[in-house]
């Protein structure tokens, strides 16, 4: 476990720190803060971290700890108030094609079949080619929905809809995947199964993944690193390294070593969690 550098907000030192950030980091943040418009709510304060290529990072914490804010900053959906944020060495100022996002709700378009939903990101960039279509069908096979590629979202169960959303995320071609409680609305069994599949799939495509959840066990089970976040003001309290080998099986969650890490995270979050 290593404590993140608590940034006091002086621009010059932050600048140096940003330049000094690990050269190969996919996502690098120094003193990243976000204050919402009315000036009273500090959603995120002084976040500094480096995320290595291909790693899986979980963001865990109670509501109001800024985990969704952090994700939306990286996605370029909202602007930072201060600090530095780079993805692939370039500052983030707008949504980018190398960063993709998935939400708690599948947000599929009801009037499009599964495969047409998967093709949406490409359609927004340019006109479709035969190759795009083959790729989309292949992605639906990867998430186990090849037989349902012409079904409409309302004909699919909640878990299946999230699989389509995952395929759509992969279709963007982004290598930084941001997942905001993607399976939060699903039942326990479906969620566990999808988590295992998610690990397999992101390993297969070699993407760097940030995964938001408020479930501690889930956060640890999936990740190489867990960012433990606390509210008021939202900040990264600690970064916990997860030592377990991959591939991991669900039975890992019952081992004493696993529970030790859970206890460690719980300790940082304090007694109100």
């Amino acid at each position: 476990m290593n404590m993140p550098t608590q940034n006091s907000g002086q621009a010059d030192t932050a600048d140096q720190a940003a330049d000094a950030g690990a050269k190969d980091a996919v996502v690098a943040a120094r003193g990243l803060s976000k204050t919402f418009a009315d000036g009273t709510v500090v959603a995120l304060e002084g976040a500094s971290f480096d995320i290595a290529p291909g790693s899986f990072v979980s963001l865990v914490g109670p509501s109001g700890c800024g985990k969704s804010t952090l994700l939306r900053l990286i996605a370029g959906l909202i602007d930072k108030s201060s600090g530095h944020l780079k993805v692939h060495g370039k500052p983030v100022d707008a949504p980018r094609t190398d960063v993709g996002m998935m939400f708690q709700r599948a947000t599929l378009l009801e009037w499009r079949t599964a495969i047409e939903n998967v093709l949406l990101p490409t359609e927004i960039k340019r006109s479709l080619t035969k190759e795009d279509r083959r790729n989309a069908a292949e992605l639906l096979r990867m998430v186990g929905l090849h037989d349902f590629r012409f079904s409409f979202p309302t004909q699919l169960s909640g878990g299946m809809q999230q699989r389509v959303a995952l395929a759509r995320l992969l279709q963007t071609g982004a290598d930084v995947l941001l997942l905001d409680e993607p399976f939060g609305a699903l039942d326990e069994f479906t969620r566990e199964r999808l988590n295992v599949e998610l690990m397999r799939i992101v390993a297969e495509v070699g993407a760097t993944t940030l995964f938001v959840t408020h479930n501690i066990a889930e956060a640890i089970f999936l990740a190489d690193q867990v960012f433990v976040m606390t509210p008021r003001p939202g900040r990264i309290a600690s970064i916990v390294e997860v030592p377990f080998e991959r591939p991991r099986s669900p039975s890992l969650q019952t081992s004493p070593e696993f529970n030790e890490v859970v206890a460690e995270v719980r300790d940082i979050l304090g007694e109100d969690h």
Binding site: A75, G76, L77, A94, P95, R96, T97, V99, G100, M101, F103, Q104, R105, T107, L109, E110, W111, T113, I115, E116, L120, P121, E123, I124, K125, K130, R133, D147, F148, R149, F150, S151, F152, T154, Q155, L156, S157, M160, T172
Partner: protein, 295 residues
Amino acid sequence: MSDRRSSSYALAYWALRALPHLLLLLALLPVWELAVSTGFITSILVPPPSEIIASIWELYVLDGTIYPHFLITLTETVAGFAIGAAVAITLAVCSALSETFKRYVSPYAIVLNVTPGIALTPVVIAWFGYGMGSKVALAAIISFFPIFVNALTGLLQVDRDSEEMFRSLGASDRQAFLKLRVPASLPLVFAGLKIGLTTALIGAVVAEFAQATAGVGVLMNRFSFQLDMGSSIATLLSMTLIGLLLFYAMEFLDDRVVFWRREGRRSVVSRARARRWAAKFGGHESPETEAASSK
């Protein structure tokens, strides 16, 4: 699954469902007839069924007097509705695209809404004459608002998460409007169109009551003033028919366009798209994939 067999099943099912209704109606008719002939109900208020049936026979079969009037009212309604809907949807799209436009147009739309459109009947007749023009105009005026307000609500009410998803994909405003807002608004647009159609019919008929030379409203007025209640009700029936005809035409369109809200249509469209995909891009396997029902 054979479509023909399932449709004949459906027919039998409906016949079975309709049977008790028909029996009840047949049982009620003699009671009604008897009640009038014994003077239990005054025949001026409610004519006996025999008289209504005789009038229907005369108006619809023997003389066929009703048909030209029927066609005129139908034309007025459809024309008025088309004009009202075109203006309403154009203004709704402009209002949805431009905040400024919406701000400066909405007060007039609100004034138009709280004014009963029917109140304009005499004025519209003075402006557009005794012919079909004034009926079309009134139908257009009173069908405008429900369509406008539904279309605008539909276009403005957009799912925040979907909007954010589009932004994260780097979609332009134009793309988000065409690919997200417009399709998402269609169910409400059609709800508005259905209400607008009903009000357009009311507009046409009321304008005919006020002053006209032809149309079912004129016929209705004439028969009522002659105290010929049987023929009046027979005429009323054709207004119901126009209403039903237009409603089901709109329902049919709604079914085709907003297919994703209709369980039956959804799987049909799903299969059709699979076939089209296979024909255009080739499928390495059979596209006949059955849609899963959501659990």
